[in-house]
Amino acid sequence: MDEQSNASTLVPEKSAVERAIEFGVDVTLLIENLRYSPTERLRRGEKIMKSMVAFKREVDRVRKEQMSKK
């Protein structure tokens, strides 16, 4: 084993949570979600999805309104 590979075995491997944080995943959202039951998680997700769709509709409506004024 050369010096470099010997040194790499001494470095503790990063945990999956650490890797996720490095990747940019907001793990606080995961911690929060794990407090809920599977049904509650789906209902919360659905609520967010519905509000995103409503938001997009509103953006589209405003854009259309602005275009018609031009």
Binding site: A16, R19, P38, L42, R43, G45, R57
Partner: protein
């Protein structure tokens, strides 16, 4: 675009005694993912009996091929399903993807083996495990799944620590 009613679709399929496993984004959400999904993905058993139940259950929801040109004839019946495999549908309750097989896992039996029963909406439903989801996403090897894979690995680790 109408938001998909995840709860109504899953209860509808379960009430119709369709054999299915919840996969994809909804399964990830049930396991604690923070990624929002806009459709329901399920893997269905491709026996004649189950496909008959699937069609009988879904026809009242007026399923049509998502993104298909208007007026394109599409009849959702057992022959259509058995002659095809995967269907991306739009229904009165929202978007529903039916998969006869899942990349990295295989057909229904393999997907069922990679599933667990979760209490959902006061019922017991089969949902693919995080390990199963990881297998499928790694096999699909899509760029858009990279973040989902990292998130699922973190969730798996967190759930193991919780137990």
């Amino acid at each position: 675009m109408n938001p998909t009613d995840v709860e109504a679709i899953l209860i509808h399929l379960d009430s119709g005694q369709v054999e299915f496993v919840v996969i994809g984004g909804v399964a990830a959400l049930a396991h604690g993912s923070a990624r929002v999904t806009f459709d329901v993905d399920v893997c269905y058993r491709r026996t004649r009996e189950n496909v008959d139940r699937l069609c009988k259950t879904l026809v009242p929801l007026k399923p049509n091929l998502r993104g298909a040109p208007e007026g394109l004839p599409f009849k959702f019946d057992a022959n259509t399903v058995l002659n095809g495999l995967n269907f991306t549908l739009v229904t009165e309750l929202g978007d529903l993807d039916l998969l006869g097989e899942v990349a990295g896992l295989g057909e229904y039996d393999a997907v069922e083996n990679a599933a667990e029963v979760l209490p959902l909406y006061g019922r017991s439903m089969k949902v693919i495990t995080i390990v199963g989801l990881l297998k499928a996403k790694r096999a699909a090897n899509r760029r858009k799944d990279q973040e989902a894979i990292v998130e699922l690995e973190a969730l798996l680790e967190m759930q193991k620590k919780q137990k």
